[in-house]
Symmetry: D2
Subunit: 419 residues, 4 copies
Amino acid sequence: MPSVSTAPRSETVAVPPSRQALARRLSKVRSHTLELAASLSAEDQCIQSMPDASPTKWHLAHTTWFFEAVVLGPLDASYRVFDPAYALLFNSYYESLGPRHPRPQRGLLTRPSLNAVRAYRAHVDAALQSFIALANSATWEEAAPLLELGLNHEQQHQELLATDIVHAFSCSPLLPAWQPAEPGLRLAGHAPPMEWLAHAGGVVDVGHAGDRFAFDNETPRHPVLLQPFELASRLVTCGEYLDFIEDGGYSKASLWLSDGWAAVQAQGWQAPAYWLAPGDPRAPSVHWQVFGPTGVQRLDLAAPVSQLSFYEACACAEWAGARLPTEFEWEAMYGKPGITQMTGHVWQWTRSSYDPYPGFRPLAGAVGEYNGKFMVGQLVLRGSSAWTPAGHERPTYRNFFPPAARWQFSGLRLARSPA
Amino acid sequence: MPSVSTAPRSETVAVPPSRQALARRLSKVRSHTLELAASLSAEDQCIQSMPDASPTKWHLAHTTWFFEAVVLGPLDASYRVFDPAYALLFNSYYESLGPRHPRPQRGLLTRPSLNAVRAYRAHVDAALQSFIALANSATWEEAAPLLELGLNHEQQHQELLATDIVHAFSCSPLLPAWQPAEPGLRLAGHAPPMEWLAHAGGVVDVGHAGDRFAFDNETPRHPVLLQPFELASRLVTCGEYLDFIEDGGYSKASLWLSDGWAAVQAQGWQAPAYWLAPGDPRAPSVHWQVFGPTGVQRLDLAAPVSQLSFYEACACAEWAGARLPTEFEWEAMYGKPGITQMTGHVWQWTRSSYDPYPGFRPLAGAVGEYNGKFMVGQLVLRGSSAWTPAGHERPTYRNFFPPAARWQFSGLRLARSPA
Amino acid sequence: MPSVSTAPRSETVAVPPSRQALARRLSKVRSHTLELAASLSAEDQCIQSMPDASPTKWHLAHTTWFFEAVVLGPLDASYRVFDPAYALLFNSYYESLGPRHPRPQRGLLTRPSLNAVRAYRAHVDAALQSFIALANSATWEEAAPLLELGLNHEQQHQELLATDIVHAFSCSPLLPAWQPAEPGLRLAGHAPPMEWLAHAGGVVDVGHAGDRFAFDNETPRHPVLLQPFELASRLVTCGEYLDFIEDGGYSKASLWLSDGWAAVQAQGWQAPAYWLAPGDPRAPSVHWQVFGPTGVQRLDLAAPVSQLSFYEACACAEWAGARLPTEFEWEAMYGKPGITQMTGHVWQWTRSSYDPYPGFRPLAGAVGEYNGKFMVGQLVLRGSSAWTPAGHERPTYRNFFPPAARWQFSGLRLARSPA
Amino acid sequence: MPSVSTAPRSETVAVPPSRQALARRLSKVRSHTLELAASLSAEDQCIQSMPDASPTKWHLAHTTWFFEAVVLGPLDASYRVFDPAYALLFNSYYESLGPRHPRPQRGLLTRPSLNAVRAYRAHVDAALQSFIALANSATWEEAAPLLELGLNHEQQHQELLATDIVHAFSCSPLLPAWQPAEPGLRLAGHAPPMEWLAHAGGVVDVGHAGDRFAFDNETPRHPVLLQPFELASRLVTCGEYLDFIEDGGYSKASLWLSDGWAAVQAQGWQAPAYWLAPGDPRAPSVHWQVFGPTGVQRLDLAAPVSQLSFYEACACAEWAGARLPTEFEWEAMYGKPGITQMTGHVWQWTRSSYDPYPGFRPLAGAVGEYNGKFMVGQLVLRGSSAWTPAGHERPTYRNFFPPAARWQFSGLRLARSPA
């Protein structure tokens, strides 16, 4: 096997522990993606229910292409591209990496088949493991942060895979279940009373610093000056949101932002995206029900409300005599005594537009398109959801979606300013 | 098993030959549908590339539901519905048969799976065979024409299955082939010279009469008065259509109907739907190529041009100093000496709007929605295509599509009026 | 003034009577257009309420441009163009006469002002009168039919001016009146009983022949073969249409063509276009009312129903156990004993698509775009309305609109085939 | 005149100076609106060129209605409403003040006529002057801030009147001029060199405080913590923007935000909204030209670039190796030595989303809908333009528009963060 000795792998002797750790994490993350898709048929994995969502199979392939395009292609001279046609098919939005199949037509890609995509994953996995073991030091230095980025990228797509298949199934009259049970303890039985936790304001540091991984949009860490505020100790529950509905929340224009009210009128919103009112013909019941990863369930009044747009979150907060926190208020309260449900339940809309931090510069190269070019017209969500992969969350994490998006696991936490 | 003796099957003793013949034809037609789908994966069979087209799997299920809804449900008291949810999913457009899943979302039906749909077909096939054997005479008299209708309905969907999967594959950057070869002798090597065959005009009878099956829209047979005209002995070829293109046909407004010219501008039409100009990046070549059931092939100049809209057919005829025939001119020339390619190649757009015949009455009951309610805004096509099931064509057959439709196997034959 | 003696006017000595007659008719028709607009302010005349309708001022200018582009420009060497910019602004759809301002933006043409357009009309009127008096014989021979066409063109636009301003006013919350009273005897007090008048069928000649003016789409005259049929002696009244509404006509899918039912659902149709149900907030009343040229009036049950789409006309006929007549059935009954309301009330939708007659050839030159290029996707209406200019109607006249059009004075007459 | 002595005016004896001053300002502002419209015909004042813009006449009436609905109606018991129908027609977006005529149909309001609207203005003006003179103290205390709001509201509409009529005229093939000359010294001959002015960062107070008028969205004044930055001493010029164009700025995806690049592709943007490239058929020239209030002018390379979307401003800044300032950076530099063109030329897009200030509460009552409900999906612009009414600008003023808006007088100033 003379090819083993070719650059960039020539001088490698022993695999350092950090490489082994990354290799193990890589293996684990990549396997988890397949596990999420395991209960889905090839048909299930092929469809796209709206332009904003992607087919499961596409997620499987795109995350693989990302490693190929960002790591193996540029840095591993021995890498053999699995199929040159895949770059066109599975590039998402990287202008600098060539043309792309139109996003709204991802659901038409019956070819390559699911089996071919699985083979593609295996091919790239093997190449990555080999590359990690054999890359020379200089290459490794360049590759390690990109591999780390690829891992985190794949974790983001794991949650998108979940939200997208749930949306697709929500369009089926059969309302099928994707998973037998929620991954965490989301359904808490009953919710503790909500308490207001005060913060005195002042200068606090926000954003990411240090050696551990974070996305570029969390940097640079910098001080901000907060006014005094109070934050709710827990999330708004389905029961509380039902009170909002039953108090006519969806028919009072005064509670809504102008664009939100227009959306209510145009889309006929009456409840969160996947709620079924009593008597809904799709799953007849005298109770409110909610569709989700586990199919149709009776509404749990103590569970955090989810599948809200930013507009609904704002209107509910207004109705409650409160407001949404800014992303910095949220971050400043992270880890403070008494605060609960900051992560692992639902993403929390903040009253912060997704703007760049002072001094923000995107990553160099193609990956510079990862975050920065989306910094307009979106709102920041903080925390994480029950479907966020374990270990992927951070106090400084900035998730973002347009204000009308309702297919995410997105809810709210109240804040207020002292009178 | 006392249930065997209950109506409607009680007095059956022997299966008459006509029942046996129908049972055999049914079996053959039903099998053929599955054969058409045989080379397609479950993923291929699930997708819908535009609202006008349907997934292969949906065609498999809908044709089955048709027998269930029109024959077994109303006439076979012993029939056990395979799955009550399927009526909602697989009703196409029959208002009188209950609500329907929205047509543009047929591609989201990953459930039921392809395997379940195959089981559905088997279940209904078995029930139909049993019903045919055992129905009493009165029931049989009612059922026989509906079974015949169901058979012809399924044959129509066989061709739609073909046109729809080809359209879906035309949206894939990979442009995959569905079939290894064309079913007929469509690619004729070289075309004979086109001759003008004259008809003296006068009263001719058109439309269907007699005992054999026809759709209601072909009736009643009635006399029409024709002016003298001439009809081309063969179809317009790809080579002739290429002349039209190269003579600037797509950029001369004077050749086009107003709506056609608007479509050319808005859609950017430059050639028939599936033609690839030299240099097309999807399949680089210095030649014109055409995509179709067998994938990308070099353009056969002698083959009949296909995948034309009515607008393009009209413009090409105008360019040629001719016009399209009316549907009655076409029918009057059927079988006349010298006329060729009337069936088995491509459907032929006529200059006849799809209006009802004098005295037309739709069939009674739900099947009355089959044809009549579409009699506005469409044009009649005559003949049949290489993908029309054998034996399904008739001289009186009236196919119909909106004028902008380009995903059918649709071409043209020239006509003219004497000066 | 040597220029007076140059061609094409040199040898003219006396104006022949036929020229004088045409000059007088021209003057009368041109004046009538201004009279129709007289009660409208400059603002009223400027607006466009939908792409299908045009501003009054645009009608004034376009009909003038037509004479300039078709007669004066090509045939009168001494003619001085009023403003070269107007060709772009006031060409409607003649591809061969150069580029056009986009149709949906006609309402943005505040310039030229109404006064400028009036001056344009006066300029062209003077030039036309001079031309008629002075053109040499050869020129006159060419010009006369074009002048006649221009007159009839202007008369068509007189009715469109009416339908378009009524539509514009129907969009105003104030629902203003355009005219003090209807021009004719449309509101008849009470309607006579409807009788069925029989026709035995057979060969009849249809279409226009002879020296008098007709549009090219009415030619050539030719024989058609009719089946026996019966035609209603009068139009369907508002009272009868109200019965259709109150019998649930707008909620029974079985009465409607498929596209019609889709329109009912999508547009929320519940009654003809300008009807106000009891309690309508725009003009509160306990009665049904109808908006029209004279503003809001109480519904006259005996008056012919108007402002119907083809779909509604078909559904109402179906509900009545009848059908619409074909255009040839209508024409064959014209002038027969007992038939009433054929012209002067409302245009009558027929069950005939707007197809070319056998042997139809458009006029030569730019005016060939007048009719022929619209012969797809439209339905024929026969007769004329109370707002059709006097003398403009003909038994062979073919008006045409798309099936969903509801802003015309369009109603229906019933027909049926003997059992 | 006994009616003079009725409430709420009974105890008035002398008009205090502050009332006189307000009355004079009111008179002046109201007159200025009419002056802006003076050169426009009734037709010009009636049209609406897109849903985002309004007709001149509508601006005249709406600003009048605002005083009626917010001041006279609630506070002047003796006020006689001019026409009860106007509330429906001229309410813009105040949900709490009743239903509204749909915004996209404002151009269909030929009635009331321009003359009627002028009479409406005169009626309300007289009533306001009387009210100011006679209102009792308690009423005056309530009324004064609302009158002040009404004045500032009218000044905002004066600029919108300008931007909207210019947009309407930009849609005319004639590209007419609205005004003979620019109001200010916008076209400066040649631009001084751009200098970078440094700010050391730190805590600065932003937002409005004190007794003088400001909109609620500028409050409360509060400290923010800035990082060190540099701001350009002047605006980006047309010449510099032309360099961006000629360097391929509109074809380099890497310079653009994702939504901006999509807009470039979808809308075919090649230059600012009203620029005419050399050879544009609407006004042939070998030079770049720009359309604006004074019609088509040769491009002044030294003038500030205008008619930019936020996306274009961002892309140009990126191309220049810089960025847009945040709204607080802009405000912190206001009045600093060396800074020029902060107001009176073009509004300046900032890199700040239009979010509420900490502790922001909308005004009480209907006027609470003035600003707050639009705080999502928009970007802040700072400064003022040459068409902003004199005295209307403030250092704390927050103008806001969606990122794709290009019909405002909107340009950019560069900023950068120290390396």
